[in-house]
């Protein structure tokens, strides 16, 4: 099996308050069939052998669905490969002797916890501000009481595919959370069940998004390019539209 020797430039930071810095590590004899995170595992194993602290990073399912892994690889969240998370990236995409820059997802609204680990609880607070349909358990009508046209159901699903990883924020030069917020709102706003709370949802989520200190969207669509679920920036347009309508209705009624 071919082996790679790589140079890693990794962001190390002790905790939220300390200053971080880029450190250089050699990643020797990395099998091309290893995943990117397994490459870090190998480097960490050697760091531990040498008595150093391993590189801390977030990861969990390692199959591209939990949204936990959060590395910016050579300046691009989840790497320049389209439609994948970091954990789905494999070393065969790199060549021998390459230098790889590994940094955390950067945004003030995602404070660094340690090394490559960031705190994305701002996303949870945005959901708590309206990203739901209020239905008490047990109070639901029969599932077939609501018919949903397939195009609406599909559009809702396209938005619902968001795994909340935050790559959209990390890729945006303004650290805007518009793709995330729009996907979450669009999922529910496309469905008949979501109509009753639509205005409240849109106003609440956008207000919370602003309070969390995310930047403003400048329509560059880097978010869409790095989204592991390839969610379209058209959802942002829908959020803008829904927000305008909600604000207008809110002003007069």
């Amino acid at each position: 099996m071919p082996l790679l020797n790589l140079t890693l430039k990794v962001w190390r930071q002790e905790n939220a308050k300390s200053e971080g810095r880029i450190e250089t590590y050699e990643a020797k004899e990395i099998p091309t069939s290893a995943s990117f995170l397994e490459m870090i595992d190998i480097v960490n194993e050697r760091l531990i052998q040498d008595g150093e602290e391993p590189i801390h990073f977030d990861h969990d399912c390692r199959e591209g669905i939990c949204g936990m892994c959060s590395m910016t690889i050579n300046g691009v969240p989840h790497s320049k490969e389209r439609g994948i998370t970091t954990c789905q990236l494999h070393m065969r995409k790199f060549s021998d002797g390459e230098t790889i820059w590994i940094e955390p997802f950067r945004a003030n609204a995602f404070p660094i916890v340690k090394d490559l680990v960031v705190n994305r609880s701002s996303f949870d607070r945005i959901i708590a501000a309206g990203g739901y349909i209020s239905v008490r358990t047990g109070s639901a009508p029969d599932a077939h009481a609501i018919q949903i046209a397939k195009p609406d159901a599909d559009a809702a699903f396209d938005a619902a595919a968001c795994i909340g990883c935050g790559a959209c924020v990390a890729a945006c030069k303004n650290a805007s959370a518009m793709l995330f917020v729009s996907a979450k709102a669009s999922h529910l706003n496309h469905l008949p069940q979501g109509q009753a709370e639509k205005d409240q949802r849109v106003l609440g989520m956008v207000r919370q998004m602003d309070e969390e200190g995310f930047g403003n969207c400048t329509n560059q669509f880097e978010c869409e390019a790095v989204c592991p679920k390839e969610i379209s920036a058209n959802h942002i347009a829908k959020l803008n539209r829904d927000y305008l309508a909600a604000s207008a209705r809110d002003s007069v009624s």
Partner: protein, 656 residues
């Protein structure tokens, strides 16, 4: 100790409604005085936390992930069963109940399973109302697909991400309650111990994984919804963080561990590619509808393939062994999971395995592509083929896929009664963490159903059975037991850090996993299990004298987190092997080599079953094995809950 399952009296179909009718209620004004701790925020924990808060209870919810939306329920692909009978194909609550009991190889509790089938329909209603985007037909109504072990179409699905969509619905309900103040969410917080006061579970000790701070939390009841223990095998389809710590800590504090030997192995996973491998990826079982599974007939050919000297296409048709079609002509490649898994293992044990490690078999689409065309196959499996190519780098349209079985669900767990309360009063266990509904084997699309049934519909009613006899807020963290357990936890972390050995935590985990996979995996025997029971204490000794954990307990330290989990996996592995050793029969996910049908059996001769099938011994083992912890390193004590079948008659599981 006698194990009282507290199954209500009366006809099976009326047990749940009469139980709800006869149970004590707590009036709404009093509910807010009760505080409930929920550990875990997956489908079971998240739905329980949200629903209990809606009812008025004060809920504290904990998860180790950075957001409750990331729990491993998210990874379920296939779907969720419900006895809706929207297809008008003869489904009913009773049929779902029967399929589940039979699928579990007659090792589950009838009353629990019937209740599960009853509430399954409400789950779908609830999820649709929450906005879960299930697949729909052009008419706007919900679509269903069929799944293993059932002859009706009762599975609701959301593309390949049913788990994620259900969890998002549940998470949104949870965040709604967070915003209303009913739930306090503690993310990146791991439960390290259970606090038992006067025999009742009254609180937990947790570590904030970001800051390292240890805190104690008291409540009137504790709910564990912390998932399964598949990662005891190191390599599994579980997420990296999945662990047995919360369950095992509870076990050490007195909760019984039931049927740990029931572990499910999934036949179609991507094989291991090297020592560095951290995780296995599941490929949907649906691939077996069109793919043909084979290995070369000769070990030499297999060796040449492993060495890269030959390719699959170099092996002529008559040198290939389509072993499932050969052994099981009627079912062929679609035989049940456990049989397909064991057959793959046998071929690899004979040296006929492919993949670089020799642990892999071919899943070949050549014939299907020839028959239906590449476009048809792409339409059916396009995204799966793409996923395979991403991971393996091979193009499955040109070269056959390589697959191998992997652990992916554990049916065993903490023992619970009909109210989902363990033998420790106050401690309730939901979802994969309990043992209750799947018996010895879980059917596809039933895990999501059970998690949500427990959380949305069962525990909100049954927790009152316990709480009604409790004085709210009677125990606080001022009770000396909290300080004592907190000190235990701190001492344990300190001793882990003080070992300062030479080997990493992962290397121990890998060693343990290989041992358990080898001796207590797809096929088990007495000799292997006894060997494992001899080796585990050695691994434990070496772990506690030679593990190296850099850094400190202050702040984020992922090595320390892993160390705590692996230490418990080592201890848990002993319970697992004891259970597998004691259960001298084969059933569902537990296959003892000594107990399989052979040519000598009458059932084989009359065609009821075939050789190599699991052989149960209902006369001896028709019970739940619940293990009581004694001392570290000492064998646990077995308690039995006899399984009584009033409605169905256990028979030989056959899918002919």
């Amino acid at each position: 100790m006698s194990l009282d399952s507290k199954v209500p009296k009366g006809p099976l179909a009326e047990k749940w409604s009469s139980h709800k009718m006869n149970s004590k209620l707590i009036n709404p004004a009093n509910k807010r005085k009760f505080k409930i701790i929920v550990v875990g925020s997956g489908l079971a924990g998240g739905s329980a936390a949200a629903t209990l808060s809606e009812l008025g209870y004060k809920v504290e919810c904990f998860c180790y992930q950075d957001s409750p939306r990331r729990a491993h329920s998210i990874a379920a692909q296939g779907g969720i069963n419900a006895a809706k009978n929207y297809q008008n194909d003869g489904d009913s609550v009773h049929r779902l109940f029967y399929d589940t009991i039979k699928g579990g190889d007659f090792r589950s509790r009838e009353a629990n399973v019937h209740r599960l089938a009853e509430v399954s329909t409400e789950i779908i209603d609830q999820c649709v109302a929450q906005g879960v985007p299930f697949a729909r037909e052009y008419g706007g109504l919900l679509d269903n697909r069929s799944f293993g072990g059932a002859q009706v179409k009762r599975t609701f699905y959301a593309r390949g991400q049913t788990g994620q969509q259900l969890l998002i619905g549940c998470y949104q309900a949870l965040e709604k309650e967070v915003s209303k103040g009913g739930v306090t969410m503690h993310t990146r917080t791991e439960m390290l111990d259970l606090v038992v006061v006067d025999g009742h579970a009254k609180g937990i000790v947790v570590r904030n994984l970001s800051t390292g701070e240890i805190t104690t939390h008291a409540a009137d009841a504790v709910i564990l919804a912390t998932g399964g223990y598949g990662n005891v095998f190191y390599l599994s389809t579980n997420a990296m963080g999945c662990n047995v710590m919360a369950s095992f800590r509870a076990h050490r504090r007195g909760a019984f561990m039931a049927n740990p030997c029931y572990t499910q192995i999934h036949p179609t996973c991507i094989p291991v590619s090297g020592d560095y491998q951290s995780k296995l990826t599941l490929m949907s079982e649906s691939l077996r509808n069109d793919g043909r599974i084979w290995v070369p007939k000769s070990a030499e050919d297999a060796k040449a393939i492993r060495g890269g000297k030959k390719k699959a296409s170099d092996i002529p048709e008559d040198e290939r062994d389509y072993y499932l079609e050969r052994k099981y002509p009627s079912f062929g490649n679609l035989c049940p999971r456990d049989i397909a898994s064991r057959a793959a293992k046998e071929c690899c044990d004979e040296g006929r395995g492919v993949a670089t490690t020799g642990l892999g078999v071919f899943l070949d689409f050549e014939d299907a592509i020839k028959r239906d065309g590449e476009d048809a196959i792409r339409a059916r499996y396009g995204n799966l083929f793409q996923m395979y190519e991403k991971i393996s780098g091979d193009n499955p349209y040109k070269q056959p896929m390589q697959i191998y079985p992997a652990v992916h669900y554990t049916m065993g767990g903490l023992w619970v009664d009909y109210n989902l309360m363990s033998n420790l009063p106050g401690l309730h266990v939901l979802g994969e963490a309990n043992f209750s509904d799947h018996g010895a084997n879980r059917l596809g699309a039933s895990a999501l159903m059970q998690g949500l049934a427990d959380g949305y519909f069962v525990i909100p009613s049954t927790i009152a059975v316990y709480l009604a006899n409790q004085k709210p807020g009677a125990v606080t963290t001022d009770h000396p037991e909290f300080k004592r357990v907190e000190n235990d936890v701190k001492d344990r972390l300190k001793s882990l850090l003080e070992v300062k050995g030479t080997k990493s935590v992962d290397s121990f985990h890998r060693e343990l996993g290989l041992l358990i996979w080898d001796k207590c995996g797809m096929a088990r025997d007495k000799e292997g299990l006894e060997y494992a029971l001899k080796r585990i204490p050695e691994i434990r000794n070496e772990f506690w004298t030679n593990v190296r954990i850099p850094g400190s307990a202050n702040g984020l330290n992922s090595e320390l987190e892993k160390a705590g989990r692996v230490a418990d996996f080592i201890d848990f592995a002993e319970v697992l092997c004891h259970d597998a050793l004691a259960r001298e029969e084969s059933c569902g996910g537990h296959f003892r080599m000594e107990h399989q049908f052979t040519e000598a059996d009458a059932e084989v001769q009359d065609g009821t079953t075939q050789t190599g099938e699991a052989k149960r011994h209902d006369d001896l083992f028709q019970y739940v094995a619940a293990w009581e912890h004694t001392e570290p390193g000492k064998a646990p004590i077995l308690h039995k809950e006899e399984l009584i079948f009033e409605e169905v008659k256990p028979s030989i599981r056959s899918y002919k």
